[in-house]
């Protein structure tokens, strides 16, 4: 299958599913029917050519499969009171991405299940691709998706925008951000497949941005673009971690930074300002600094102050402490860390120890810094990070 057809199918998948769901409310059956239509297209189009109206073709095939399924269901149950199956295919006239995302990020689903379903139903990825990206067996992923669909069916929420729209949009954005992070935070090399998850998350968020004017959607898209722009620079040739301050800024993706900065600049004055927009603004400050020494730390400190007011997340408080130290000196930052360490949620987090180590190093306390790096290394569950922290511990003693 050519890349063009593959892209086209991915783009059409949610539209076809959405069109089907406007007519039928069986999410699981509709999703199966769409998968069958996609498989049919993938095998026929490369040889026979792409039809003039691909979406109509896909909807027609999927709808036929759906009707076959419903008919056999009806025959099996012999339910006289059930209304007859409708013959005419649904009309593809609106963008269903938003509604579909709302369905997949259902409150009854745990994040792992919502992620899997979103990638398959909205992203049009195959179960094997999703399983490969999450490094679990295909059978396990298939089961995860099946259970997720079943849960949505059991919960009985029909296919329309839920009343608690804002609350659900927050869940959607959270799932998209988790998908992005899964890909972005994995190292390079053999994990290339996982890196595709970031690309997919950006694509889905872009699609959502196309059908929603919510400023937080724009904020999340900008945030992803601005973080992802640094992707090639954040790991070395053998996958080792390179922190922001030591990255080769020439390897940052400038067009993507320009797009992200333009997006967040246009969005912020519109309001209301939410945490994704503030995080995008923070990343814009980093991305626009020509060198680490030119970073506008007072500006970052102010932004982290705003972000702290919006969330109780202790990681935000930790980043705020870093900015504080960069403006007011390592001793002042270390004082803040002592206060933060009283928070049980973060007291033993490797990031707290790593930040303390870094500030001790800045203050010239090599031995204490090495010990803090060592503790940080023992608390992380990421291999590249553990290696980086171990190396820093060794360097701090030199």
């Amino acid at each position: 299958m050519t890349v063009a057809i593959e892209d086209l199918l991915r783009e059409e998948a949610p539209q076809v599913l959405g069109a089907l769901l406007r007519r039928h409310d069986d999410f699981a059956a509709a999703e199966d029917a769409v998968q069958e239509a996609l498989i049919a297209a993938a095998s026929q189009w490369p040889a026979e050519g792409v039809p003039d109206y691909p979406r109509g073709w896909l909807i027609q095939v999927a709808n036929r499969r759906m009707l076959d399924h419903l008919r056999s269901e009806q025959a099996r149950r012999r339910r006289e009171e059930r209304s007859p199956v409708e013959e005419h295919p649904p009309v593809p006239d609106q963008d269903d991405t938003l509604v579909l995302l709302f369905m997949c990020c259902h409150p009854a689903l745990k994040p792992a299940a919502a992620i899997a379903l979103t990638l398959r139903a909205v992203g049009g990825l195959t179960t094997a691709e999703i399983a490969g990206a999450f490094l679990i067996p295909e059978a396990t992923m298939a089961q995860r998706i099946t259970r997720a669909k079943l849960k949505i069916k059991e919960s009985g929420v029909p296919f329309r925008l839920p009343a608690e729209r804002d609350e659900r949009l927050a869940a959607v954005l959270h799932v998209l951000y988790l998908i992005f992070n899964e890909g972005y935070t994995s190292s390079a090399g053999p994990d290339l497949q996982r890196r595709d998850l970031s690309t997919e998350a950006i694509r889905l968020t872009r699609a959502l941005h196309g059908s929603s004017s919510d400023p937080e959607v724009a904020g999340l898209l900008a945030l992803m673009l601005l973080i992802d722009a640094r992707r090639d620079a954040r790991t070395g040739p053998s996958g080792e971690l390179i922190p922001l301050t030591e990255q080769d800024r020439g390897r940052w993706d400038q067009p993507q930074i320009t797009e992200g900065v333009a997006l967040i600049t246009a969005t912020l004055p519109r309001g209301p300002v939410g945490p994704y927009q503030v995080q995008a603004a923070i990343n814009a400050v980093h991305d626009e600094a020509p060198s680490a020494d030119d970073t506008d730390w007072p500006q970052l400190l102010a932004l982290y102050g705003v972000l702290r007011g919006m969330t109780d997340n202790p990681m935000v408080a930790l980043n705020h402490a870093v900015a504080f130290a960069m403006v007011h000196g390592p001793a002042a930052g270390l004082d803040l860390l002592t206060t933060l360490a009283a928070d049980k949620r973060i007291a033993n987090h490797h990031r707290l120890h790593a930040v303390r180590a870094h500030l001790l190093e800045m203050a010239g306390e090599g031995v204490a810094a090495a010990e803090a790096y060592r503790i940080a290394a023992s608390h992380t569950a990421s291999v590249p990070e553990q290696r980086y922290l171990t190396l820093k511990a060794a360097q701090a003693l030199r």
Partner: protein, 132 residues
């Protein structure tokens, strides 16, 4: 999050060696383990599971870069505790991993009495990097 559940064969278990059990109890134990794997697959949590050959079959290899590597029997043939097998699961939380571990710890022994197998729960190093 991925966790490895390490099953230790241990003298701390209050049961005689499995080959001395009533054959029906052995069968029930094996069936329990097979069904346990299936439940993990059905839950969408299974990643991998393997049993390991006995420690009397194990070799310890050490190489110092000079001369031939040193290969000895071991790790500790007389050891009272050794790794008998493992599961890798992908679950939402540590709490869930502990729940799964406690389920397998209850594997049936003689007369169906739960063995109370010690299961070590370790996080697999697959966590995302935190971006600074």
């Amino acid at each position: 999050m991925k966790y490895m559940l390490l099953m230790q064969a241990s003298e701390r278990i209050d049961a005689p060696p499995i080959h001395t059990w009533d054959p029906d109890d052995v069968k029930a134990h094996i069936q329990f383990m097979q069904e346990f794997d299936k439940i993990l697959v059905d839950n969408g949590e299974f990643v991998d599971a393997q049993g390991l050959a006995g420690p009397n079959e194990a070799k310890v290899v050490r190489a110092l870069g000079t001369g031939a590597p040193e290969v000895t029997d071991g790790p500790f043939p007389e050891s009272k505790e050794f790794l008998a097998g493992y599961w890798v699961i992908d679950v939402d939380s540590l709490d869930r991993a502990i729940e799964v571990a406690s389920a397998v710890s209850k594997a049936p022994g003689p007369r169906g009495v739960p063995l109370g197998l010690p299961i070590e729960v370790r996080q697999v190093m697959s966590a995302p990097l935190s971006d600074a």
